[in-house]
């Protein structure tokens, strides 16, 4: 352990862990290295020691248990108290992140450091490396949103999600980030931008017509920009045409999601027979595990019409 090799600890009395007595629940049989390091940690934290040796100790503990949020928080306090080089800290965090890609404490730590440093220069390249390891890492995408807003980095975001979506059109995290990139800014996007998004998404849907992520994005954009869903009717009909009822040939239905949106369009127009037909097709053939939901939509729409008379 570096903290022992590099520093003297003679003046510190380690504080053993008290799990709540000898018959505590869920004690862990730690390796000695970890157990002893934690004993020193408790001791230096208690006296709020902010020193080079306590900094080294946090490094060793994090490499043994990166999920230990207390050590991260203590480390931040030491870094700030000693006025350490924060850029060097970011380099170290990059090493830890790649060693433990699922760890999420690093993102909160990094946010605190980068916020103080007031410079995002290292961030986007590191985020990209981490998203290559796991393209849907929730904490990485959340961090990216914070970063973009904090440093006004909007320009890169739509193109970045285009690349990610081209790589995997079903990456819902990328679609969610795209929605943020378009609508998360203070300025409302222009009609042209919205129209471009709609065309981009339709093209993506044609590559994989069942892709929920693209459909949710499409209907989300319509709603957010105040456009009527019925603008999508002809697009949906090119993918699924339920007009011939139960005699519908399979060839006429290529997307369950387009049936769903069609049903919403018909329901909005109060054309309940057509909406019901689409819901029935979903319930009985194309998305049967959700049949209770589709039947519920049907009965709700019918009740609403009856109530109107």
């Amino acid at each position: 352990m570096s903290y022992i090799e590099e520093f003297s600890w003679d003046d510190i009395t380690p504080i053993p862990q008290n799990d709540g007595g000898n018959d505590a629940i869920a004690p862990i049989a730690y390796d000695d290295d970890y157990r002893i390091a934690m004993e020193y940690l408790r001791a230096v934290m208690k006296i709020e020691e902010f020193s080079e040796r306590s900094l080294k100790l946090t490094e060793d503990v994090i490499l043994m248990n990166a999920a230990h949020y207390t050590v991260w928080q203590y480390r931040t306090r030491i870094l700030f108290a000693l006025d350490k080089d924060l850029e060097q800290e970011l380099v170290w965090v990059e090493f830890v992140g790649q060693k433990f890609p699922k760890n999420y404490q690093i993102w909160n730590h990094r946010e605190v450091i980068v916020n103080k440093l007031d410079n995002p220069i290292r961030e986007l390249p590191f985020i990209e490396v981490m998203l290559e390891i796991d393209t849907k890492n929730y904490h990485v995408w959340s961090y990216r949103q914070w970063l973009v807003r904090r440093f006004d980095l909007w320009a890169t975001e739509v193109p970045y999600t285009t690349i990610m979506i081209e790589q995997d059109v079903r990456n819902n995290s990328a679609w969610n980030h795209r929605f943020f990139a378009i609508f998360g800014r203070k300025e409302v996007p222009s009609d042209e931008v919205v129209s471009d998004e709609i065309e981009f998404t339709k093209a993506a849907i044609l590559k994989a017509p069942q892709n929920t992520s693209a459909w949710n994005y499409l209907t989300g954009v319509m709603k957010k920009s105040g456009r009527p869903l019925s603008d999508l009717e002809s697009f949906c009909l090119t993918l699924s045409n339920p007009s011939s009822g139960f005699k519908t040939q399979d060839l006429d239905i290529t997307s369950a999601r387009s049936l769903e949106v069609l049903a919403d369009i018909y329901a909005e127009k109060q054309d309940i027979p057509k909406a019901s037909l689409a819901w029935t097709l979903l319930a009985e053939k194309y998305d049967t595990v959700r049949e209770n939901y589709w039947n519920h939509r049907k009965s709700q729409a019918t009740a609403k019409i009856l109530g109107a008379f």
Partner: protein, 419 residues
């Protein structure tokens, strides 16, 4: 009112949708792999028995033995390592919990209380954390150790909750920690159980939670984040803690869009729930998504939004019994994964949702802050909805607190008596 018509919906859907796209991506390849491995375990017309004794043995490990050093990664989650197995055991085999556990639980949780902050941390000597505080208080609730309840310094816990409150109405997990909707849920659930809810504590919180709903209809960890099953439960349950759910939920959520997204979480042929669009099913969402359904079903009849379960309980039961039972005991994410305490807790809590119908009883208690989540009731689910064999029956729970039935109410009322 006409007699309720109960359609025969007790059926499973073991066929994949006839519509599958030919384009292969990382996502579709993973989905295909999971669907195939689940299909291999789903047998037509046969439902495995819940291997109660094996699961019980597995869940008793933390009560009997030291966990191996591989658990070091959970060293900052000690209260969870106590809560998860206790919650799961309470549902499937309460008699197996040893009689001396109560004081042992409270001593173990008290050892995690931060000297300087007064709330519960991830372990001895660690700083206080809202998730640890939630799990620790839940474990204390299950312990029923009223001496420990008496000894808990609720004022200090309240001070900690207030210290975690952010200006925008949300909460952060710990000093210097992240702000998200888990923190909101953990703070509110804790405040209710300890009867320390105040208007000041929840100022602006309901609006903050509302901002976490995304264009997809689900709820993300924070505003603009991707919709996610775990955060969806935290958000929805938070609304159920903040006011009368019959009023708060329709007002602060786009309920139609939320239900649509929630419904899309159930996959076939697997029958289980995924946490996000285009992600794989995972047993733990049996609770995070199933718990959302329990809460919604509890209010939808009163909102005249229909009553039939809007999802397939039979298919979730199928996924849990066929795919989530580890042969060596304990419950798991999906076939090929190892069982653990986290998944055991939330898969079994999901199974409880399959077997029971929960409902919010308006006016069951005085309508005051800190009573909203305690006005729930349940009944056994109708066999027309899902057939539950007697040998598989497990206990009921409080769907807001994720605690065995009656436990949350008892703890809250203990403290309320001091008012």
């Amino acid at each position: 009112m006409a007699a309720q018509y109960i359609p025969e919906i007790n059926k499973v859907h073991n066929q994949e949708s006839p519509l599958l796209d030919s384009l292969v991506t990382e996502t579709s390849a993973a989905q295909n792999g999971t669907a195939r491995s689940c299909e291999g375990l789903i047998l037509e017309g046969q439902l495995p028995v819940l291997n109660r004794s094996a699961h019980s043995q597995f869940l008793q490990i933390p009560l009997k033995l030291a966990l191996p050093s591989a658990f070091t990664g959970l060293d900052a989650s000690k209260p969870w390592l106590i809560y998860w197995p206790l919650q799961a055991l309470s549902l499937i085999d309460p008699a197996s919990i040893p009689p001396d556990y109560s004081a042992r639980v409270s001593a173990s949780i008290f050892a995690c209380i931060s000297d300087t902050e007064g709330a519960i941390g991830g372990g001895n000597g660690q700083i206080a954390h809202l998730a640890s505080t939630y799990a620790g208080v839940n474990a204390l609730a299950i312990s029923g150790d009223t001496k420990a309840w008496q000894a808990l310094d609720r004022n200090r816990v309240y001070q900690f909750l207030m210290a975690m409150k952010c200006d925008d109405g949300g909460f952060r997990m710990h000093h210097g920690g992240e702000e998200d909707v888990r923190a909101v849920y953990c703070a509110l659930a804790t405040a209710t159980l300890l009867d320390i809810m105040t208007e000041e504590l929840v100022q602006g919180t309901i609006e903050w939670v509302s901002r976490c709903q995304t264009y997809e209809g689900g709820i993300g960890g924070a505003p603009d984040n991707e919709a996610h099953g775990g955060y969806a439960f935290c958000g929805l349950a938070s609304l159920c803690l903040l006011g009368n759910p019959l009023e708060v939920i329709p007002e602060y959520l786009d309920l139609e869009n939320f239900v649509r997204w929630l419904s899309a979480r159930q996959y076939q042929p697997e029958g289980g729930f995924s946490g996000r669009s285009n992600k794989l099913v995972d047993g733990c969402y049996s609770w995070w998504v199933g718990g959302c359904w329990a809460l919604l079903e509890g209010i939808m009849p009163s909102l005249k939004m229909g009553w039939v379960p809007l999802w397939s309980k039979a298919d979730l039961q199928k996924y849990i019994l066929c795919c989530c039972q580890s042969p060596r005991g304990g419950l798991r994410d999906k076939p090929g994964k190892s069982a653990d305490f986290y998944h055991s807790c939330y898969v079994l809590s999901g199974l409880s949702v399959v077997q029971h119908r929960y409902r919010y009883v308006d006016g069951a208690r005085e309508k005051t802050l800190s009573n909203w989540s305690l006005s729930w009731d349940y009944s056994a689910e109708d066999s027309a909805v899902v057939e539950v064999s007697v040998e598989n029956q497990i206990g009921a729970l409080n769907p807001v607190h994720v605690l065995p039935w009656g436990v949350a109410e008892k703890m809250h009322d203990f403290y309320a008596a001091y008012r």
